[in-house]
């Protein structure tokens, strides 16, 4: 039989002989007879494919398991994928594909899900294999092998849909960059991890952070820093814990059948907060690990009971997260049952907590357990139960129930860990610290020699219109003060435009806020308006209907408007204006100086900043004038130093401008963007992308109560400016008139 099958395989690889018999045993156990034939047939094909022994070997070993999860019927689909890969330049990816199948099938047991996985693999293959010109793919995909290698890990956290989004994101953004593509698909780049995190199923801690902090503060009067630890990269199952630095919680909690993710977070927080309130540390030196485990069990139950006294509504959640293990689940002949016993005890204790609910008995018949549960309830009735009482009770319990099988090498873990309970590291203190070698090492002092030169970068998301989603933390923006030069230059500019300044001054006087305005013809007011009153009185005497609105009152009419002027300082500003000896930059400088002078006269808070960008990793935001600064020499000297260079990544700069503008306490917040071209950057080939991102930024700003207005110096701006700013824009065709137009425009906008 075996030799017959081996003959069917029809290949001479000697590596096969060593494992073939074992593979066949497994295959015969897991596969039906026709499937077994197909299995051998497919294996034969793989052997004859000319890709060495590796694919064949892996297939022989992995297929029976895969078939047992995903069904035997999926074999043709798998083989089709293998053939497709074989016909492409990606032959080396066949082995990793076959290798990934059992783990993937375990995560996606439905046959159609496995089909989706294979389809996704083929999609990647087509999109990332390079070709020089024409139809034939000539270069192997840089990411396919990494994709197969990491697929099981990705599927640990994501559904197949999430995986598809994650993969497509990588293909779209790193299409022209093989090295980064490989990093993305091997989960090494931060973008990759960020997208992975975003697509995860379950409740993310970051989304719940504020709610949980409020929960902790309101219900527990506790203010700890909530820190997440990663569940994707952690090697072993970690439990929540707290220390001096804060409370640590897993970065994601899935929903269980009964308890939702946020409720699991709340339960964990409630338990830790209860420990912080009621537990006191116990000396651990004289207790064995088993005794400590038992003490923790009683102490956990004690703080849970105390919290249920205040918040009885937590009980259903605690009960649901604290399942009752079956009495005979653990076999003392093979396992150490200590943890199982304590799990049953913990459940019994939780059931025994008295409260405004029908008293429930856990259905465990063990008399010793019942006796200790009773003693525990008695101890809880006294008002000052303490952690050390629990220690005594636990020691007594352990002494009664100790048995030989507790010494077994393998420990029973199932159902004996509750994820809402922390690891109780706070419960123990030690007389003497460990005399292990490492404890004598003095911790190395790492001195940060490099002084911080500037503010840390701020990261802003960018809108990707193709996928209708944000690219998380895509743009790094560095802000700083604009370098300074001779401020007298600006004074000269203002001197040059003295005539214009005089005209502006006249307009300003009209615009200046009048503190008090007299409101006449009021039904009710402070004062009798004598003219109107006498007229009304005359009407009354003449037996005609008088006007009842005979009062007047005063109202104050203040301006409440804050403005940020955002200057595009990209390379194109160095162009000369047609028909003039000045560059756009110089004209902008003059216009901005006049505007700053104008606004200073009006007294509105004004900030001026410039920006340019050199790829998404380096967007510069340069402050020229802050809200708090007066229009003085410091500002003038910065303005005099205005330089142009690099590109225009407008969305990020607008988001950053909004960041400071939004905190101004005025009724109206206006962001003026002065630009000479459409948004663009060196690392973006799709022109529409940054235009759409800027449009999205305008929308975001609108939700923050900020009005955005664009002053565009590009005569051909109509093609894009309406897309970004809607109706809120002006195109200045004759740039030479800008110094005159800008202040007037400002006055018109803020009238």
């Amino acid at each position: 039989m075996l030799s017959e099958r081996r003959a069917q395989l029809d290949c001479a690889f000697t590596e096969i002989d060593a494992v073939f018999a074992d593979c066949m045993v497994e295959a015969q156990a897991l596969l039906s007879a026709p499937a077994l034939d197909a299995y051998i047939e497919s294996a034969r094909f793989l052997g004859k494919m000319g890709r060495g022994v590796e694919p064949l070997l892996i297939f022989l070993q992995s297929w029976p398991q895969t078939a047992s999860f995903a069904g035997e019927a999926t074999l043709p689909a798998v083989m089709n994928t293998v053939r497709a890969i074989n016909q492409s330049p990606n032959g080396r990816a066949i082995a990793p594909l076959l290798q990934s199948l059992p783990a993937v099938a375990r995560r996606l047991p439905a046959p159609e899900s496995l089909q989706h996985y294979l389809d996704l693999a083929l999609e990647l293959l087509v999109q990332t294999s390079g070709s020089i010109h024409g139809i034939h793919k000539t270069y192997a995909s840089p990411c396919l092998i990494a994709f197969f290698e990491h697929a099981p890990q990705v599927l640990q956290s994501l559904s197949i849909d999430g995986m598809r989004t994650w993969a497509r994101y990588g293909v779209r953004h790193y299409h022209h960059h093989p090295e980064q593509q490989r990093q993305y698909f091997s989960l090494q780049s931060s973008d990759s991890l960020a997208v992975l995190q975003r697509e995860r199923h379950g409740t993310l801690l970051v989304d719940q952070l504020r709610k949980l902090e409020l929960y902790l503060l309101a219900l527990w009067q506790d203010q700890a820093l909530l820190v997440s630890y990663s569940t994707t990269t952690a090697t072993s199952a970690m439990q929540p814990y707290y220390d001096a630095m804060g409370m640590r919680l897993p970065d994601v909690y899935g929903d269980t059948a009964i308890v939702s993710g946020p409720d699991r977070y709340r339960a964990a927080l409630a338990h830790m907060a209860a420990h912080r309130r009621w537990s006191s540390a116990v000396y651990a030196d004289n207790y064995s690990p088993a005794q400590r485990l038992a003490i923790e069990c009683f102490e956990d139950a004690r703080v849970d009971a105390l919290s249920l006294r205040i918040y009885p509504g937590l009980r259903p959640i605690f009960l649901a997260l604290n399942p009752a293990p079956a009495v005979d689940a653990c076999n003392p002949l093979t396992h150490s049952c200590l943890r199982h016993r304590l799990a049953m005890l913990a459940h019994a204790l939780l059931c025994a907590i008295p409260g405004p609910w029908p008293l429930q008995q856990a259905d465990y018949a063990d008399p010793v357990m019942r006796e200790h549960v009773r003693r525990w309830t008695v101890a809880m009735e006294s008002s000052d139960s303490s952690s050390s009482d629990m220690a005594e009770l636990a020691i007594a319990y352990l002494a009664k129930t100790r048995c030989q099988s507790d010494q077994q090498a393998t420990t029973w873990f199932a159902d004996s860990q509750w994820d809402y309970r922390d690891d109780n590291r706070h419960l123990w203190k030690f007389h003497e610290l460990s005399d292990d070698e490492e404890s004598f090492e003095t911790p190395k002092q790492t001195v940060d020699t490099q002084q911080l030169q500037s503010l840390p970068p701020r990261h802003y998301s960018e809108w990707d219109y193709l996928s209708q989603s944000y690219r998380p933390d895509w743009v790094s923006l560095f802000e700083g003060l604009h370098p300074a030069a001779q401020g007298s230059h600006i004074d000269l500019v203002l001197e040059k435009h003295r005539a214009l300044a005089k005209r502006l001054k006249r307009m300003l006087d009209l615009l200046k806020p009048h503190e008090r305005v007299r409101l006449r013809y009021q039904e009710e007011g402070n004062e009798l308006d004598l003219d109107v009153a006498i007229r009304a009185f005359t009407d009354l005497q003449a037996k005609s209907q008088p006007d009842g609105r005979i009062c007047e009152s005063q109202s104050s009419n203040g301006r409440s408007i804050a403005v940020t002027l955002l200057l595009d300082l990209s390379e194109s500003l160095n162009d000369k204006v047609p028909g003039s000896s000045q560059s756009i930059l110089e004209l902008s400088q003059e216009a901005v100086a006049l505007l700053a002078w104008t606004v200073d006269q009006l007294g509105d808070p004004l900030a001026i900043a410039g920006f340019h960008s050199n790829s998404r990793h380096d967007v510069r935001y340069l402050h020229i004038k802050g809200f708090g600064e007066r229009w003085g020499d410091a500002v003038k000297s910065r303005m005099a130093a205005m330089q142009a260079g690099f590109s225009t990544r407008m969305g990020a700069a607008m988001r950053h401008a909004a960041h400071t503008l939004a905190s101004q306490k005025t009724d109206v917040k206006l962001l003026l963007v002065l630009t000479d071209g459409s948004p663009s950057d060196v690392d973006v080939s799709d022109e529409a992308l940054l235009v759409q991102d800027a449009r999205q930024a305008v929308k975001e700003l609108a939700t923050q109560g900020i009005t955005t207005y664009c002053i565009n110096l590009d005569a051909k701006a109509d093609a894009y400016v309406r897309d970004i700013f809607g109706k809120q824009y002006t195109v200045v065709d004759r740039i030479a008139t800008l110094p005159e137009k800008l202040p007037k425009l400002f006055m018109r906008l803020t009238k």
Binding site: K211, Y215, A218, L219, P312, G313, A533, L540, C551
Partner: protein, 263 residues
């Protein structure tokens, strides 16, 4: 609003404020009541007015209120104009306790009209009709304000502040508050204590996105709803949470506190 309560208003004392107020009244010192909204300031004044047997004139101050709203104004009539006393003038004439509720809401130039009434002069000049009123011997001025939630701009002038003796009010201690809620609504004391627990939780969030904690007044509303057969959780959501915040996170937290308290 001019009231002369015939029925005793319910007021449970926190400390010795009743005796202190009586002492202040006997010397006719103007009184300032500070404290968060809904903690019982107005009820205290009503109670004291009843206890002292004096009429009470209450004025709710607002931003548009002007001096003439307090002093009085001319009205147009068939035979000319007629002077109509404002509430402050009325109180000074008849010897009532005049209670200016939330005084900081009024603009500062309005509040200065009370100055001559609140020092040794005890006079009210009405310059529009050329009259100088000497306050009735029983007249007393009481103002209330909530120092917390108003903006920094809205504060009393020092010259106004320093004309008053002041009482600091806060929400009652939980036991007392439960008794008050139970008394006002008829809800059993145990249930009232649970409501107070929610109130206490919410008050801890003040400054973390909540301008003001849940007031005793709202707790009484919730208790009243519960007393009328509304389920506890619905009543709390309707009376305690929805009115005080639009912040989804805080709402969720408070909803959670409600579920945690009412199992």
């Amino acid at each position: 609003m001019n009231t002369n309560a015939s029925v005793q208003p319910y007021y449970a004392a926190h400390g010795n404020e009743v005796a202190l107020y009586e002492a202040a009244y006997s010397a006719r010192l103007p009184v300032m009541l500070k404290g968060p909204t809904g903690c019982g300031k107005s009820r205290f004044v009503e109670y004291m007015a009843w206890k002292l047997g004096k009429p009470l004139v209450t004025v709710a101050c607002n931003e548009d209120m002007t001096a003439s709203d307090l002093l009085g104004r001319y009205l147009l009539e068939a035979n000319g104009t007629r002077w109509l006393d404002g509430p402050l003038t009325t109180a000074a004439r008849i010897g009532a306790i005049c209670y200016l509720d939330e005084i900081v809401e009024a603009r500062q130039d309005t509040t200065v009209v009370i100055h001559p009434l609140t020092d040794h002069r005890r006079q009210l000049p009405l310059d529009k009709c050329g009259e100088l009123i000497h306050a009735h011997p029983d007249f007393q001025l009481v103002i209330s304000y909530n120092p917390g939630y108003q903006s920094v701009l809205k504060d009393l002038k020092q010259s106004t502040k320093q004309r008053f003796v002041a009482f600091d009010f806060d929400y009652p201690a939980p036991d007392l508050e439960a008794r008050i809620v139970s008394n006002e609504s008829g809800l059993p004391i145990g249930r009232a204590a649970q409501l107070v627990q929610i109130g206490v939780a919410a008050r801890r969030l003040k400054g973390h996105g909540l301008d003001e904690g849940i007031s005793t007044r709202l707790l009484v509303y919730a208790a009243t709803l519960m007393q009328r057969g509304v389920a506890a959780q619905d009543a709390c959501r309707m009376a305690l949470v929805r009115p005080i915040t639009d912040d989804a996170d805080i709402r969720a937290t408070l909803d959670n506190a409600i579920t945690a308290v009412f199992a």
